[in-house]
């Protein structure tokens, strides 16, 4: 049993159960899922759980990249939200061309997406280069893009708000006709499968962990620590592009200052909630992804109880505090020790009886 306390999945699962139980007691209707029809007449599932599945998926995609960056560099990328704005802006720019309210799309969605991927990876490479080659602290390095990103996003479209009228574009952040489960879930599923295949069939996991734990000995074992860190930021860039596609597809347009605001904090929180050390090294990808959905579970719960959006961070801060306290090794040792004592006493009591 004391092993369970030390397992990395313990924290996210415990948090998930806690939230589920809380909602069950407070208002069981939280778990209700209804099948309805949207304006186009297609079947869609709705309910709080669907919202979690929908919005948690964006976060899960980002958590994948953030986990790798954290593991390899021992720091976090805080420019994710701004990078989503840039990447989303690029998608709209390519789709709409010069005319901001074009009736038809000027390019196929796949082309727009691929271009935005390249752009996001270039910005990832920029962050990566600062961290890997210039040895700047990740948070400081990404502060640059965090500050400038949304302006760059606005500049890409001349600060206008292009709107895509094509209905198929809204599928990515909504529903594909005939499928009642939100599309972001499938996109996240695809990303998760890809990353797990990558972790299984390449040495991505071993190399990033090795570099994150001991850069010097990694180098003497023939690794190129700079390149591994650089690579982690580029992979995060790719995750950003995917999340950005979902984000702009939801609205079919963009709001430069609001889109994906503070999402980097949720992504970092997901990594931490997954029990991964924010100082880098060993990681558990599954735990991070689970952590992302747990964060969304929390956000949705708070929304349900009419906590205003501006007050959300305060509640999340409480979660962060609990998280930090419970993931501290001393606290964990204490609990597993407590458990041992309790079971020991129980056994002794039984023996006496």
């Amino acid at each position: 049993m004391s092993k369970i306390f030390r397992n990395q999945l313990f924290i996210p699962i415990a948090a998930l159960l806690l939230l589920a139980v809380f909602n069950l007691i407070a208002d069981p209707s939280f778990f209700k899922i209804t099948l309805g029809y949207n304006s186009a007449g297609d079947p869609v599932l709705s309910g709080y759980l669907m919202t979690i599945l929908d919005y948690g998926s964006e976060l899960a995609i980002l958590a994948i990249g953030m986990t790798l960056v954290t593991a390899a560099s021992g720091g976090q990328d805080i420019s994710v939200g701004a990078a989503i704005a840039i990447s989303g802006s690029v998608v709209l720019r390519v789709l709409c061309g010069r005319d901001h309210h074009a009736e038809t799309m000027q390019a196929p969605i796949i082309v727009a997406f691929l271009i935005s991927c390249v752009v996001a990876m270039i910005f990832g490479a920029f962050n990566g280069a600062l961290v890997a080659f210039f040895k700047i602290q990740p948070m400081v390095a990404t502060l640059i893009l965090f500050t400038a990103g949304r302006s760059i996003a606005a500049w890409i479209n001349n600060n206008e708000l292009p709107i895509v009228n094509e209905i198929s574009f809204s599928y990515f952040g909504g529903f594909i006709p005939g499928i009642p489960v939100p599309t972001p879930f499938f996109i996240a599923l695809a990303c998760v499968i890809v990353i797990f295949l990558a972790l299984k069939f390449t040495n991505l996991g071993l190399y990033t962990q090795s570099v994150g734990i001991n850069e010097s000995s990694s180098r003497l074992n023939g690794l190129n620590p700079e390149f591994i860190k650089f690579l982690a930021f580029i992979i995060l860039g790719l995750c950003v592009a995917v999340a950005a596609l979902i984000k702009v597809s939801r609205l079919s347009t963009i709001n430069y200052s609001v889109i994906a605001k503070d999402i980097e904090m949720d992504a970092i929180l997901a990594v931490a909630l997954g029990g991964n050390a924010l100082s880098g090294g060993k990681f558990n990808m599954g735990a991070s992804i689970l952590g992302a959905y747990v964060i969304q579970f929390l956000t949705t719960t708070l929304y349900k109880f009419n906590v205003p959006a501006d007050a959300l961070p305060a509640y999340k801060a409480v979660v962060v505090i609990l998280l930090v306290v419970f993931s501290a090794p001393t606290v964990r040792e204490f609990f597993s020790g407590l458990w041992k004592k309790m079971t020991k006493k129980g056994v002794e009591a039984n023996a006496k009886a």
Binding site: N203, Y207, I213, N214, K282
Partner: protein, 506 residues
Amino acid sequence: MKENAILEMKAIDKVFPGVLALQGVDFTLCEGEIHALMGENGAGKSTLIKVLTGVYAKDNGQIYLKGYDKPVIIRSPQDAQKMGISTVYQEITLCPNLSVAENMYIGRGKGSGVNWKKMNEDATKILQSLDIPAKADQQLSSCSIAVQQMVAIARAVDMDCKVLILDEPTSSLDEQEVEKLFKLMRDLKARGVGIIFVTHFLDQVYEVCDKITVLRDGKLVGEYEIKDLPRVQLVSKMLGKELDDLSDISGESKKYEAQPGLAPVFEAKQLVSDAGIKPFDFYIQKGEVNGFTGLLGSGRSECVRAIFGADRVLGGNVQKDGKAVKITKPIDAMRNGIGYLPEDRKVDGIVGDLSVRENIILALQVLKGFFRPFSKAEANKFADEYIKLLDIKTASADTPIKSLSGGNQQKVILARWLLTHPDYLILDEPTRGIDVGTKVDIQKLVLKLASEGMSITFISSETDEMLRTCSRMIVMRDRAVVGELTGEELTQSKIMNTIAGGEAKK
């Protein structure tokens, strides 16, 4: 408590998950005594000391201190310090980015505020009285490891301790520095301080200690007066069997005959790196064991780092099996069949949080390539094979390497390189800070590998260890190669003379 004893530990038990680290160990330290604590790695020396200093809580047993009528409970290192128990650990535990004086006074503030001037003056006084070549306001990281160690000792000394624990203090000091330390230890002894001295150097034990307590496998073997326990017996008590291995190994297979017409396995001409060594020539033949020797800081490690591409190579020509190759980074060297066990195991060797298995396969995995990971079964096979071959003591292949003892960590790193089946293996201080048994194992292994055709460069600060293994020694002084000794020239005195600058100067 015994008369004039200042510390008594009685029937100490300490259990870690799956391991009985200490079982009913007794230990007594008297006033004005230098007491050696001996044992192989994993014997429980470090654990006993950590129990004494409050790092670990003991599971059973009592600790009595002079001046306290009841058994004391030591909850933390701060507690221990307050009770007059100070420790200087094997790994330096000071803050490299603070000044020497700050390091000496950190965490000892008595009131509010710091009088910087007074602190620096006090520190300077102590440093001078102990003859430590460091300035009070110097940043600690700019001092050599040896000096950092001495600052740690100065800190402990200044805390007016009654029990001073020195855990492997001499492993990175050169002879003169060791002498200074011994002088200091004798001074303290005369003032009535009890010193617990943990070391792997037998010579030093016999030079400075009064008593020896031997531990083995977490149990007490016995406490002995130094004069009653000759060296051979000490070793046999530590190992738990009568053994004459140390003499066995010498005198055999020392002579090396190069096969004619064969190009050297590795040859470097005018090789130079950015680590501040002068360009040097070097070669090694198939199946040869050679070594770099010289004082601490003479450039031994820098030479082999240049060979392996660990430092930035600035110039020189390198040939592998007679063919010109370019080695600018470690992976180049690895692809050319060169392995390198680094000097600083903790910083350059182990990947602490990864498992023993991952640490073993790491180098071979990198050689194999990013897109071709070993299957779980393959990795397990390699790990199990080498754990068995080198007798690595670990709970399982999944155990994080950082929880192994130093000697076993070293064996894992050795396994890592053996697994790559190199033609040429560089071992930089493979025996530093590890126990006698493992040392002998490693020396034997070196000779065995060489007899199977592997070329090995072996570096050790213990000259007799090199004399036992090397058939040729390259002598270094002030970051330059100053001589090469072979055959009959390989004697302690000849080496010392060459290191010191030969007869010409004297």
